[in-house]
Every structure is written in structure tokens, then in C-alpha cells.
């Protein structure tokens, strides 16, 4: 039954979403869709606040030990799963152990660590090393550490759990594959009591029914929000924003969407030579790149930092000069020095992510101007995923990445995870290791500064800048937030 006057509004919210998630199990995938939808169903021990610090969510508090080798989580009491069962330390341990197995990063760092139940409402993470960065990994919002009932986890296959039962403000009611995912308000939801703050603090579901409708075609999403079929439409093409803005019933919301790079093949071909990578850095007009891909300065920032200004605990100015350098003539010389002889280089890209493709086109044109020949190999995403593992196949590959919340999430840095592009810089690896065990946040920040600087020297990839995405909402939505994705709790809809 409904209780309280605020529920009167309720109603149905239709969200035009791009693609269906492979699963709603956040442990099992790095898919953004799983995050965007799954965060309504599942919650984590820790999550990010407005300042991008790790803050408690299902945990009441958390505390590191003196030697920094263990973290103690006090759980909130009375938090109920959607199946009515109360959340206890058993569930948390089971969930965290499973997540630790499945999340690649967690697996790397915590493989020798353990989650231990202290009592029904206390869980301790015991680590082999003083991983100061652990809280960031625990709070990650991609492939996140959702807490689920122990029984469900025990029955789950590797491809993902079959029942989606969490503690979040919405419950899964129906998943019509490739059509929609229907969530309904969790009437029993137990919200943290503090003020809303990023993903933590007060969370109150106001909407009765929340539909994520799968609308792969961007023009259709745009048209659909214009006609009022949808209340929220994600990933509106930049060129459609004027149309949205000119419509009194609509509002365009820009939000950080990620950063653009070009990844080098550092194993084979000319770009295994650092000089060639530096030459490319000088050759490419980063502004033109960002402009072509993201249409308008409104939608991108030219930013050298691997973590941006919003990540106050990480931001630094290292490498900025190298980012800003642009000198085609010098680039030409450097290419020669690197041994470039007029051979044709391969740029691998896809049109499934239009911005990556557009970056590829600009790089190609920029290189053409200094006499470097290239050819575009355009594949669909699935093919690209495969061919990019072939070390002989490409020289350059534009790639977009979701915003990272800590340095460990940047795949192209670490040579030991064998990520495409195949970095091989002992310095960077060393700095990464140091970072993990930095005694304090300040130390971590300093080490990250060195890391960032080194990355602009070594250039595993070139960051072109940060870009925003645009979501369109109808103006009758109140308190709709964007924080590392759309936030639907606390949102209300008036007629």
C-alpha cells in the first residue's frame, strides 16, 4: 500500500536508453548500461559523493586500521533486500567475495585479500598490502560491488545472476528483452538519513514506475522526446541539442561522458618508437579533433589531466605543456627521425561510436598534411573488439573511455594487464605499484602527479580532452540529477 502524501505524484517515467545491458548483474560486466540501470536496484558499501570521494552508503561507517592493511565496515541496520530479507554481514561477505573474483581490477589488487564477517553488522577487509587506494576501488561505479543476498549469489553462474535482488530504491519488475526494463518503486526502501550528496545521502524513490526503453537510434530518441513519448532521453546527438533547447518543454543536460584518446600499438610498427608517438602528439590539432567529434565547445573541455578537476583529490598540472604542444613541422621531423618512410599506417575505428570515428578522420587529415599516409579500417564494434587484439593489425586506434574515478581504472597505463595497445613502461608500472600502497591520500596524489607526467612522456595513448554527453529531459521533471550517470531517485514528475 502507499503511504505518505509525497507518493501521490508518482507516475511513470519513460527513459529512452541506447542499448540493452548484457545483464543487470553489476559484478559480471563493465557495461555502462548495467551501471545506469543497476544502480537503481543495487547498492554498494561505499559510493562517491559530490567531491568524488568514497563515502559510505550501505555501510554506516568505514575505517582503516593503523597499518592500513584492513578496513572495517559497520553496516546499516534494517536495510532490506527486495525479497524482504534483511541485509547482514553474510550477504556482504558473499557479495564482496564474488565481486572480487569477477571484477578484473579488484582481482588484481585484492586476490590475496579477504572479506571477513566480524558480527552480523560488521565486515572487515583484510589485505596483504596497505592498499590505500582500496576505498576508491570499492566505490567504483562501473562493474560495481553490488550487495546481493547470499543465496542468490551461491546459485549464480559466471555469466551473471539470474535474479536481480538488491537493496536499491527501485525493484526490477519486468525485463522485456530488447524492449524495456521496468522498475517499480521500492516502498520499503531504507534511505541514508544525511542530505543528498552525489550517490550517497538521502535517496527517495518518487516515481512509481520507471521504464528504461531501448531505443538504439539516436534520431529516434530525439524525436521521441520531442513528441513526449519519453521523459528522459540519453545520448542526444550534439547536433540535435539546438532543437532540444529551442523547445520550451525540453531541457538539455550536459554531463561528463568520458575522455577521448588515440591508443598506439606499441608492440609493432612505427609507434613502438616513442619518438613517433611524440610526433603524433605534435601533429594532431587536439582542438580540431574535439570539435569534429563533439560539435561545439559546450560539449568538450581540452584537458590534459587523466582525472579532471572534479576529482579534487587527484587533479594536477603535470604534462599540461606536452598536451598543449602543437607543431606540425616539428612533428614531420620527428616522424623522420623515428624512421618513417612513407609507409601507409592503419587507423582502426568503428562507426558504432561516431566520435571515435570522427577523431579517426581528423587524425587522418592532420597526418596527411605532414605527409604521413594512413588508411582507415572501419569495423563494427564486435569486429573491432576482436581485431584490436591482433598485434600486427593496426597502428592507431581512437578510443573513448568512461570517466575514471581513480587512476587504476586507466587500462592503457598498466603493462601487466595486457590491454590492447600493449604498454611497456617499467616506470609507469612502478609508479602504479607505489600509488596503490601510498601511505596517505596526499602521497597518492603526488605519486599520481609523477605518473601523469610520465604518461605524457611515454604516451601509451594521447588524451585529446574530456567530453560531455547530453541528455534531454522534459521540463516537468524536478530534481533530476546527473552524477556518473542518470539519477532517478529524488526525481519527481508533475503533469
Amino acid at each position: 500500500g502507499k503511504s505518505g502524501g509525497s507518493n501521490e505524484k508518482g507516475g511513470t517515467l519513460n527513459v529512452a536508453y541506447m542499448a540493452q545491458p548484457p545483464t543487470l548483474d553489476p559484478h559480471a560486466t563493465v557495461s555502462v548500461a548495467t551501471t545506469d540501470i543497476g544502480r537503481n536496484i543495487f547498492e554498494t558499501l561505499l559510493a562517491f559523493n559530490e567531491r568524488n570521494e568514497a563515502a559510505p552508503l550501505l555501510a554506516e561507517t568505514f575505517e582503516s586500521s593503523e597499518d592500513l592493511k584492513s578496513i572495517t565496515f559497520k553496516l546499516r541496520k534494517g536495510v532490506k533486500f527486495h525479497n524482504g530479507k534483511e541485509m547482514t554481514a553474510d550477504d556482504v561477505v558473499a557479495s564482496m567475495e564474488r565481486w572480487k573474483e569477477l571484477n578484473g581490477k579488484a582481482n588484481t589488487y585484492f586476490s590475496k585479500s579477504e572479506f571477513v564477517k566480524e558480527d552480523d553488522y560488521t565486515v572487515v577487509l583484510k589485505m596483504d598490502k596497505p592498499f590505500t587506494i582500496a576505498k576508491y576501488i570499492l566505490a567504483t561505479n562501473i562493474n560495481f560491488a553490488a550487495i546481493m543476498p547470499k543465496e542468490i549469489i551461491e546459485n549464480a553462474p559466471k555469466s551473471g545472476v539470474k535474479e536481480y535482488v538488491g537493496t536499491g530504491p527501485f525493484k526490477l519488475e519486468e525485463w522485456k528483452k530488447d524492449q524495456y526494463i521496468k522498475l517499480v518503486k521500492n516502498e520499503e526502501y531504507q534511505s541514508p538519513r544525511s542530505e543528498p550528496d552525489g550517490l550517497v545521502g538521502k535517496k527517495e524513490p518518487m516515481i512509481d514506475e520507471l521504464y528504461f526503453r531501448m531505443v538504439p537510434d539516436a534520431s529516434t530518441r530525439t524525436a521521441g522526446i520531442q513528441t513526449g513519448e519519453y521523459d528522459v532521453a540519453l545520448q542526444i546527438p550534439y547536433d540535435n541539442v539546438p532543437a532540444i533547447e529551442s523547445d520550451g518543454n525540453l531541457e538539455a543536460i550536459t554531463h561528463p561522458e568520458g575522455f577521448s584518446t588515440v591508443v598506439f600499438n606499441k608492440q609493432n610498427g612505427i609507434f613502438s618508437n616513442e619518438k613517433a608517438r611524440q610526433a603524433l602528439n605534435l601533429a594532431v590539432d587536439k582542438k580540431e579533433v574535439m570539435m569534429a567529434a563533439f560539435a561545439d565547445e559546450k560539449f568538450y573541455t581540452q584537458e590534459h589531466g587523466l582525472l579532471t578537476k572534479e576529482y579534487v583529490s587527484w587533479y594536477n598540472e603535470q604534462g599540461k605543456d606536452k598536451y598543449e604542444a602543437h607543431d606540425p613541422e616539428a612533428a614531420k621531423k620527428l616522424f623522420k627521425e623515428a624512421g618513417y618512410n612513407g609507409e601507409e599506417l592503419t587507423i582502426l575505428t568503428t562507426r558504432d561510436y561516431e566520435d571515435q570515428y570522427q577523431i579517426a578522420v581528423v587524425i587522418q587529415e592532420n597526418l596527411k598534411k605532414i605527409g604521413v599516409k594512413t588508411k582507415l579500417e572501419v569495423y563494427d564494434w564486435a569486429t573491432l573488439m576482436e581485431v584490436r587484439e591482433d598485434k600486427k593489425f593496426y597502428d592507431l586506434m581512437p578510443m573513448g573511455y568512461n570517466p575514471v574515478t581513480d587512476p587504476t581504472q586507466i587500462n592503457f597505463l598498466d603493462s601487466r594487464i595486457n590491454y590492447t595497445g600493449w604498454s611497456n613502461s617499467p616506470e609507469i608500472d612502478k609508479l602504479l605499484d607505489e600509488l596503490m600502497v601510498a601511505p596517505s591520500d596526499e602521497d597518492a596524489k603526488e605519486i599520481f602527479g609523477k605518473l601523469q607526467n610520465e604518461s605524457w612522456n611515454y604516451l601509451p595513448a594521447i588524451k585529446f580532452g574530456d567530453y560531455d554527453g547530453v541528455a534531454a529531459i522534459r521540463t516537468n521533471l524536478k530534481d533530476f540529477e546527473w552524477f556518473h550517470g542518470p539519477v532517478f531517485w529524488n526525481t519527481t514528475k508533475s503533469d
Binding site: 555469466s159 539470474k162 538504439p216 537510434d217 529516434t220 573488439m385 587500462n411 594487464i417
Partner: protein, 316 residues
């Protein structure tokens, strides 16, 4: 008759075999693999390997084919790798929208095309005829994605008469159901209408020059009676072929239209499946589509018997 149907159904087997082999090897030759898609763009190689093993994708290809094919023989099309449900279920849940769309498109096109075609034929060589035929040519020439986009812009975005895209099942009410299908049905029906109108015209022209039309005139029948009772029923046979084939292709995938209007039908199912390299789903769906196509053609052939007594099958 029953024997004939049984025979026709038997002749499905070679077609299905061809389709099965082609689709399996085509799809397995395709670069890209489902595991990396499921795990997402930032997945690490070892995770992908593990999932591949779990999905049985690490077996030799002939082994995979045999596993799959032996499943088919006992009626098991397997489970979708991505959607996490049996192929048959996935197909069934996407069949509804496509069927509704195809039927509506077919109805619209028939209702427009046949009177057009007849009129053009009876007024052969006049301005009416030429107008209709230019119209029909335009219908064939305009690519359906363009027409779809234009319809959305006009009727949804500008006029707000109809929704831009999406789908509601029949259970949501008839009007609600139709509302979403009108624009896509017009888009899809345009080409059909043009083809059918042309076929109607030319087959009516053929029939109108037949001796038995002269006979009908000699009997003192009215023009209208001759056209509708004598000529049209005879002209219906080739028209039926076109309609039948068209319907086959409609059901088999109004891919572009479904994408433009975001209708969760068979076309979208397969396009998504190809993008996701959902091997089992692609294979199964293509097989089912082919079966549907053959089945519809069988129905059309049986309908011939109703329209044309000369091909009534029980007599042979």
C-alpha cells in the same frame, strides 16, 4: 491435398539445410566474438577467454556445428548467448510486432494499390494511368529509411499526430497498438504498394486482352461486372504471387523500418544479434525466418487453388 502439403513441408528440409549451413559458417567466420561483447569494451583478455569456454566457443568449429545441428534435429534451437533465453522464446516475443507491422503494411498497400492498378489498367494510356504509374515509380524509388524519417518529422515531430517511434502490444488496446504502427506500416507498405500496383496493372492489361473478356462482352455484360467479376479474379493470380512474396519478405525482416521506428521485431532482433555476435540466436532466428518464408509461400500456393481452379491440387 494433404499429401501435397506434406510434400511441400518435406521440401522444407533441403532449404533449411542450406540455410543452416550457410548461416552457421557465415556467422562463425565473422570476426568478433560474443564473450567480449557481453563483457563490454573494457574487458580484459583473460575474462573473455573464461567466458568463451563457458559458452562452448572454444570447441573446434565442426564440433560446434554438430552440437548445434543435433540440437535442431530434436527441435532445440539453443539459448541466446546474450539475451539469456531460449531462441524460440526470443523469436516468439519479437514475432508479434513484426507480424502486426507486416499485416498492417500489407493491408495498407493492398487497399491502395489494387484499385490504383485496376484504374490505371482500365484507363490505359490516359493521364490517370500515367499519374498512377509515376506515383508507383516514386514509391519504388524512395529508400524506406528516408521515407520513414520524413514521416516521423512530419507526423510526429511537427504535427504531433502520431508517436515517433516505439511499440505497444495489442494487449495495450487496439488504438494504442495501431497508433505506433501506422507510420512504419506506411513506410513499409509504400514499396509493396508500388510493386502491387504495377503488377495489378500489367496483369489486368494481360487479362483484358484475353478472349474470354471478349466473350463476356459478347454476352452483354456491363463493363464493371466484366472488370471485377471476370478480369480481376483472373488477374489475381500473379498479383497473389507478388503479395505472397512481399509478405514473406516483410515478415522476414522489415529491418530498416524496424530500426527507424524502434519496433522490437524480428529485424531488430537479428540486427542486434549480429552486432552482439549472438551466434545461437542469429542461427536460430534465420532458420525460423526461412521456415516462415517457405511456409507463407506454401500458403500462397494453396491460395492459388482457391482463386484458380486449374491449379486445384486434389484433382491432380
Amino acid at each position: 491435398m494433404r499429401i501435397y502439403i506434406a510434400q511441400r513441408l518435406l521440401s522444407l528440409i533441403p532449404v533449411m539445410l542450406v540455410v543452416a549451413i550457410v548461416v552457421f559458417f557465415l556467422i562463425h567466420l565473422t570476426p568478433g566474438d560474443p564473450a567480449s561483447i557481453i563483457l563490454g569494451p573494457e574487458a580484459l583478455p583473460e575474462d573473455i577467454k573464461a567466458l568463451q569456454a563457458e559458452l562452448g566457443l572454444d570447441l573446434p568449429i565442426y564440433q560446434q556445428f554438430l552440437n548445434w545441428f543435433s540440437g535442431i534435429l530434436v527441435g532445440d534451437l539453443g539459448d541466446s548467448l546474450y539475451l539469456d533465453m531460449p531462441v524460440l522464446t526470443a523469436f516468439a516475443s519479437h514475432l508479434g510486432p513484426t507480424l502486426s507491422l507486416a499485416i498492417l503494411a500489407q493491408l495498407i498497400s493492398i487497399i491502395i494499390a489494387i484499385p490504383f492498378g485496376i484504374m490505371a489498367a482500365t484507363k490505359r494510356g490516359t493521364a490517370v494511368d500515367q499519374f498512377f504509374m509515376v506515383f508507383a515509380l516514386l514509391g519504388i524509388s524512395i529508400p524506406s529509411f528516408l521515407l520513414g524519417l520524413l514521416l516521423i518529422l512530419l507526423f510526429a515531430v511537427e504535427l504531433h499526430w502520431l508517436p515517433a517511434a516505439g511499440y505497444q502490444p495489442l494487449s495495450a488496446g487496439l488504438w494504442n497498438h495501431l497508433r505506433f504502427l501506422i507510420l512504419p506500416a506506411i513506410t513499409l507498405g509504400a514499396i509493396q504498394a508500388a510493386l502491387i500496383a504495377r503488377m495489378t496493372r500489367s496483369s489486368m492489361l494481360d487479362i483484358l486482352s484475353m478472349n474470354y473478356i471478349k466473350t463476356a462482352h459478347a454476352k452483354g455484360l456491363k463493363e464493371r461486372v466484366i472488370i471485377y467479376k471476370h478480369a480481376f479474379r483472373n488477374a489475381l493470380i500473379p498479383i497473389l504471387t507478388v503479395v505472397g512474396q512481399a509478405f514473406g519478405t516483410l515478415v522476414a525482416g522489415a529491418v530498416v523500418t524496424e530500426v527507424v521506428f524502434n519496433i522490437p521485431g524480428i529485424g531488430q532482433l537479428i540486427v542486434n544479434a549480429i552486432q552482439r555476435r549472438d551466434y545461437v540466436l542469429i542461427q536460430g532466428t534465420v532458420l525460423l525466418i526461412a521456415a516462415t518464408y517457405v511456409f507463407i509461400n506454401l500458403l500462397v500456393d494453396l491460395l492459388y487453388g482457391v482463386v484458380d481452379p486449374r491449379v486445384r491440387l486434389n484433382k491432380k
